[in-house]
């Protein structure tokens, strides 16, 4: 029975539930205690041992229902027994023929399962059901059966023809059953690997080519990514808060008091939270990618503590509180229609935007602030106001420009990118989710390394 549990764990793993070896052992011990007899009890017990968050519990329930479905394993040799009585076995018959003719249904099930195990159940993928079925049949010895059928066809006499017909019938039934077995295996094991392939594709696809329907998926990817990054860096931010006795400094400071430990010195580090201001271009020239940039911005807003978000086109408006208040779809809709925010969707005017920012918000930019600009730098031949960008650049810790256009296009036509470039600490092409991820990585790593050195 342990094999059943092993396969179930495998099925869960391929659906994205992380299960360690220790948990497998726990599951076995739990099953020893509760047994397989009571289905509900088994589900409750395994659910507590294997699925450890509410998301995982959902996946668990679905997989459990599929795996321990009540109809059980379909019988690959249904209806064969009644006909098999009239077929004689010959000494030359292959093992599969023997099995079909004289074996019990349980023997056949075992044979199919073994065949499946030999071709490695877990590798079954979306497009590979056909080959998978062929490989199982091959493993079971289909060639031998085919040979026997041909032999029977070639011989004269009614008995031989009958024999060929019955064996053919048994073969087609067997193939049907292996097919349905493979289908079930596919739903159990390969659902997530196909999902994984889609995710991989979306990560590398250009943001402008993505469709509306992928929005949810992309957002899930972005959230996953941000959660991961947050887990990676939040810890380091925290440790810098802790104070410990700094013995060396204490010793040195108290030499003046004749070596009496009078004045204690602590290994205090400054708390250094990332302080981020993001300006996002939502004009028509970047229309194709803007939804995804906003999604990213929304995700950042949810994850990082101190962030102020602005969107701009002809003018600049702050949208931090919309992000805080609304759910993702609603927030996006509100910003893109511009109804509530007072955003003017005229010609993109970077110069005006920078002027406005310089006037109203330049004070908020400090030596700790990272300013991120998401936009293509296409200014419709207006005044680029590089002076103001320079002022921001001088005040802030880092100024990062993420441009959805690929590098050769920078500076072509009305793009002012090359004139802005000297005032960016970092300017990067950014048009896939992967790019976004790298940028956030760089951003957070820079922050934490700086904060630890400033301690």
């Amino acid at each position: 029975m342990e094999e059943v549990l092993e396969e179930f764990v495998l099925a869960l793993r391929s659906s994205g539930v992380l299960i360690s070896v220790a948990e497998c052992i726990d599951a076995m011990r739990a099953v020893d205690l509760v047994g397989y007899a009571d289905r509900q009890l088994l589900r409750e017990a395994l659910s507590g041992v294997l699925a450890k968050s509410s998301d995982e519990k959902q996946v668990f329930t679905i997989t459990f229902e599929r795996f321990f479905s009540s109809e059980g394993f379909p019988d690959p040799c249904q209806g064969i027994e009644d006909t098999s009585i009239r077929v004689d076995l010959r000494a030359s018959d292959s093992t599969l023929t023997r099995l079909l003719v004289s074996g019990t249904p349980a023997d056949l099930v075992m044979s199919v399962r073994e065949g499946a195990r030999a071709v490695d159940v877990a590798t079954i993928g979306f497009f590979f059901q056909g080959p998978y079925i062929r490989r199982i049949l091959h493993q079971m010895g289909l060639e031998g059966l085919n040979h026997d059928i041909e032999m029977a066809h070639g011989e004269d006499g009614a008995a031989s023809q009958r024999r060929a017909m019955i064996l053919e019938l048994a073969r087609s039934r067997l193939i049907e059953n292996v097919k349905s077995f493979a289908g079930r295996q596919y739903t159990l094991f390969a659902g997530s690997s196909t999902e994984g392939a889609i995710e991989k594709y979306l990560r590398n696809a250009r943001l402008s080519e993505l469709e509306e329907r992928d929005l949810k998926r992309i957002y899930a990817i972005i959230q996953k990514m941000l959660k991961h990054l947050n887990a990676l860096y939040a810890r380091r931010r925290k440790t810098s808060k802790r104070g410990q006795l700094d013995f060396k400094r204490t010793f040195r400071a108290n030499i003046a008091f004749d070596g009496l430990m009078f004045d204690r010195m602590w290994k205090a580090k400054k708390i250094d939270r990332p302080d981020i201001i993001v300006l996002c271009d939502v004009s028509r020239s970047v229309r194709a990618v803007v939804r995804f940039l906003l999604l990213f911005l929304y995700g950042l807003n949810q994850t990082l503590v101190k962030i102020r978000s602005f969107v701009f086109c002809s003018n600049l408006v702050e949208v931090s509180d919309i992000f805080d208040r609304c759910l993702v779809e609603e927030a996006l809709a509100r910003i893109l229609t511009g109804a509530e925010t007072g955003l003017l969707m005229g010609r993109t005017d970077y110069g005006e935007v920078f002027r406005e920012f310089g006037e109203k918000w330049l004070d908020t930019v400090t030596s700790k602030t990272t300013v991120i600009i998401l936009g293509d730098g296409r200014n419709n031949y207006g005044d680029p106001q590089t002076e103001i960008l320079k002022a921001i650049y001088r005040r802030c810790r880092r100024l990062i420009w993420l441009n959805p256009e690929s590098r050769p296009l920078w500076g072509a036509g009305d793009s002012e990118m090359n004139r802005y470039l000297p005032f960016c600490h970092l300017a990067k092409e950014c048009n896939t989710v992967r790019h976004l991820e790298r940028v956030v990585h760089a951003l957070l790593r820079h922050h934490s390394s700086l904060s630890s050195s400033s301690g």
Binding site: L18, D26, G48
Partner: protein
Amino acid sequence: MQREHAREFASRESILQGLGEAGYVCTSEIATMLFLACHLEKPILVEGPAGVGKTELAKAAAAFFGLPLIRLQCYEGLDESKVLYEWKYGKQLLYTQILRDKLDDIVGSSSGLAESVQKLHQYDDMFFSPHFLEPRPLLKALQEEDGVVLLVDEVDKADQEFEAFLLEILSDFQISIPEIGTIKALSKPLVFLTSNNTREMSDALKRRCLHLFIPFPDPKMEREIVRVHVPGLSERLRIQLISFIQQVREFDLKKAPSVGETIDWARTLALLHADMLSPDLVRETLNTVLKFQEDIHMVEDHLLKMTQKALSAALD
């Protein structure tokens, strides 16, 4: 203390029944988890929204098994000196003062500094021995001979570093103290960890625990809970009350009413000798269930309709 039910022999059915007698209405899922926890000797991580009875579960289990309950309330900044152990610094200082004369005796007979130091080396561990150890909840739980129910409440409120302290005790039921060595549990405690999901627990912690998710109860279950806790309430009013609460939970509220608040409301209505819900009665007592002015306003707008629905639910 006399144990009422030995953990090793508890069956799932006896747990289900026993918790019920201890005043805790539980689902079969909870009973199964508790059963597994007893037999696999693993801690249970209990998650779920606020006020569904996560902490109550630990209390009821303690009552059922007849074990003392040691509770550790977590908060940000909790560290090992408050959780595991602390040295009794005062006692150490006092003893050094008292023993000064003795020290003179020991050192006095020796000639030269090196010999004195040599002699003192034989005694240096004295002040860091179990006598000077102040046990904190986790260590206390391990030292209890008859076993104990250990409740680590709201573990998600503590820092991530705190989880690291827990790992050793959760997997091996032991604590390592550098000056003394490893202290093993005399009798393995039954451990509950509760979390409100304010942050995701680490995988290392989850791996060592059984996981139990307690959702808001369904109407039938909640009626049963109210029946157990507020026996004075009439059957009809109870159905109306639960129907109303379940409707309230469907709103997008700042804070959905918990089971605890349902019970509070039931008590209030019992005190007022109410026999059925009416819009006015609800309006006057709604603040026992909803704790934010915005939420109250939102529900008040639909009060009439909701009360009617609740009343008709009792008729079916």
